[in-house]
């Protein structure tokens, strides 16, 4: 069965491989892309179906069952009722891990969206108009880069008060620099190509040129930067929460879970290891996916 499909496939391609089939081939043949997509899919599944698949309630504290180790520990306390154990307040750790995925994905995605809109607008305008606009935008980018992100984010959160929305906005307003830098140079490359010149000659309005001619042609690099910045935002949120100025208890943010467990590193280190692996897997998956998209959509840039 598999053989027949394969031969029919190659016979079609030997006549004329369609761009679509080549793209599919590259996509499914790219190990990093597939691994990234699979891991990300699992984490998405965990996040979306958290209420259905988790064994308990993320906020339910039962002190009589605190600090139960995960099942792979050779401890009499380990039980299948709490596969990943429980934390200091007796909350089921697997449940908190699943719900924590929601927070990471939510913050990562929305902060990336905000920074993407700001950065892309600045970058495209600078790249398209050049001259003075470019100078002003470059100046804004340089200023932003010279302020340390973690420090400024921490200071601002401490001054305006921390909540989920606040963290999202602060991160979104801080990490647009890479979007701006890359979109600026991508636009500069596209700006002088023939199809843009002909659109200008036809008398198209500037917004039309920007949205219909420039933007579709820089989407590839936009998506790649979007994945990098989403991973960046997730790491920053975890850092802020770890330092106590991000997501506030009792929310199950992975960074906060590590922070709450850091006093127990001597005896219950798995409390730190488990959410850490969650963060690591999520960020790695997003990065692999981003690298994969870059390779698959622009194979000539592979090195």
């Amino acid at each position: 069965m598999a053989d027949t499909i394969k031969t029919s496939d190659t016979s079609v391609e030997s006549i004329e491989p369609t761009p679509g089939s080549l793209l599919r081939k590259r996509t499914f043949g790219h190990a990093g892309f597939m691994i990234g997509a699979t891991v990300l899919g699992i984490i998405f599944f965990m996040a979306i179906f958290a209420p259905l698949i988790s064994p308990g309630d993320p906020y339910d504290q039962v002190l009589s069952r605190k600090l139960i180790p995960p099942i792979w520990h050779e401890s009499a306390k380990a039980t299948w009722q709490h596969p990943l154990g429980t934390d200091l307040l007796g909350r089921d750790y697997m449940t908190r891990l699943f719900y924590g995925a929601r927070i990471s994905l939510l913050i990562g995605f929305t902060a990336m969206l905000i920074s993407g809109i700001i950065g892309t607008t600045l970058g495209v305008l600078a790249g398209y108009f050049g001259g003075r606009v470019d100078m002003v935008v470059s100046f804004i980018i340089t200023t932003r880069l010279s302020m340390p992100v973690v420090l400024v984010a921490l200071a601002v959160v401490s001054l305006v008060g921390s909540s989920l929305t606040m963290v999202i906005w602060i991160l979104g307003l801080l990490i647009w620099d890479r979007f701006a830098v890359v979109m600026r140079s991508a636009t500069q490359q596209v700006r002088n190509l023939d199809f843009v010149t002909s659109a200008q000659a036809l008398g198209c309005s500037t917004p039309r040129i920007l949205f219909a001619e420039i933007l579709p042609n820089i989407t590839n690099s936009l998506i790649v930067i979007a994945t990098i910045e989403m991973a960046h935002a997730i790491l920053l949120e975890a850092t802020l929460s770890f330092l106590g100025l991000g997501v506030q208890p009792p929310e199950p943010s992975w960074g906060l879970m590590i922070s709450e467990a850091k006093g127990m590193i001597f005896f219950d280190a798995w409390l730190i290891t488990i959410p850490g692996i969650g963060l690591f897997a999520l960020v790695l998956a997003i990065n692999l996916l981003g690298d994969g998209i870059r390779d698959v959509t622009a194979p000539e840039n592979r090195n």
Partner: protein, 305 residues
């Protein structure tokens, strides 16, 4: 070169001024800085008193002008929590953060440049793939988790390294790695790309054709040219690391600027926060300025255009 330098210097000064305005305005984010300084639940009288002492009742432009004028003279304000001059505390803590940053950068360069070179000599080989994997994995690890994991293994399980403090050079090993590993992927990729480009150039072929020893060609001819962009990247990354040291210093209880920043944020010590943001930003601006100058000096293409 001179015109380029002046232009670049003007830009640096303008950026520094903007940063100073932003870090000055930062304390107004909480609404009324007098209330924030006096502390929650203080009486109207106390708040009014703070407002008088700190001069928050003056127009904001006057306040900024005064603050900037004082800052230029090296007076960054007074911390009413530490009951001390902000500038002296900041500059007392700065050296240890610099030392940590230098160790971290050293670690990053020692690891990433050889890896990048080897990866470039044999592209797509096993070494290249391992280097790439290290880069991808390294970029995905949250530094605070990496730091805690190192503590868990090297200090708690194997009892090899001290966890906190700055008593000996052993104390700096884990913080330097935790702070520096994040930089390695970028440096490695840049070294690899630079080496690949240089190795395929004509003068390397000539050098090889002359019958020079492969090692001489590699280090004296190729690496020297490939390393130029790495220098400015390293400078930029050093600046980022000083900002990132807040996390590492907090974990390892290293009494540097980052730890001071975290403490000041916890106790709402506004003048201290302001000063640290300003000092780190200015330091970064100077760093990038000198990196650009060095780059222009080494690469004539930049200074002519």
């Amino acid at each position: 070169m001179l015109i380029y330098m002046i232009k670049r210097l003007g830009m640096a000064i303008l950026v520094a001024l903007t940063v100073s305005i932003l870090s000055f305005l930062m304390i107004y984010l909480s609404g009324d800085p007098a209330i924030a300084l006096a502390g929650e639940g203080s009486s109207q009288e106390d708040i009014e008193n703070v407002r008088q002492v700190y001069g928050f009742n003056r127009p904001i432009i006057v306040q900024y002008g005064d603050w900037l004028f004082q800052a230029l003279q090296g007076n960054l304000g007074h911390s009413n929590y530490l009951k001390s001059d902000v500038a002296s505390v900041v500059f007392e803590r700065l050296p240890i953060t610099m030392l940590l940053g230098a160790c971290a950068l050293g670690f990053a360069l020692i690891l990433s440049i050889p890896l990048g070179v080897v990866a470039a000599i044999r592209p797509n080989s096993l070494v290249d793939r391992i280097a790439l994997t290290i880069a991808v994995v390294g970029q995905a690890m949250p530094s605070f988790w990496f730091a805690l994991t190192m503590i868990l293994w090297f200090s708690i399980n194997w009892r090899l390294l001290p966890i906190t403090g700055t008593d000996s050079w052993l104390n700096f090993i884990m913080p330097s790695i935790a702070l520096g590993y994040y930089v390695t992927p970028a440096v490695m990729r840049l070294t690899r790309a630079g080496m690949l480009e240089v190795l395929s150039s004509d003068y390397i072929r000539t050098a090889r054709a002359k019958g020079l020893r492969p090692m001489t060609v590699l280090f004296k001819h190729a690496l020297r040219n490939a390393i130029i962009p790495v220098v400015s990247l390293a400078a930029v990354q050093f600046g980022f690391m000083l900002g990132g040291s807040i996390v590492i210093e907090t974990i390892f209880a290293i009494n540097g600027l980052g730890f001071l920043a975290w403490e000041s944020i916890q106790r709402a010590d506004l003048p201290m926060m302001q000063a640290i943001v300003l000092v780190l930003s200015i330091f970064y601006i100077c760093l990038t300025f000198f990196a650009d100058m060095l780059n222009a000096f080494l690469n004539p293409l930049i200074r002519v255009s």
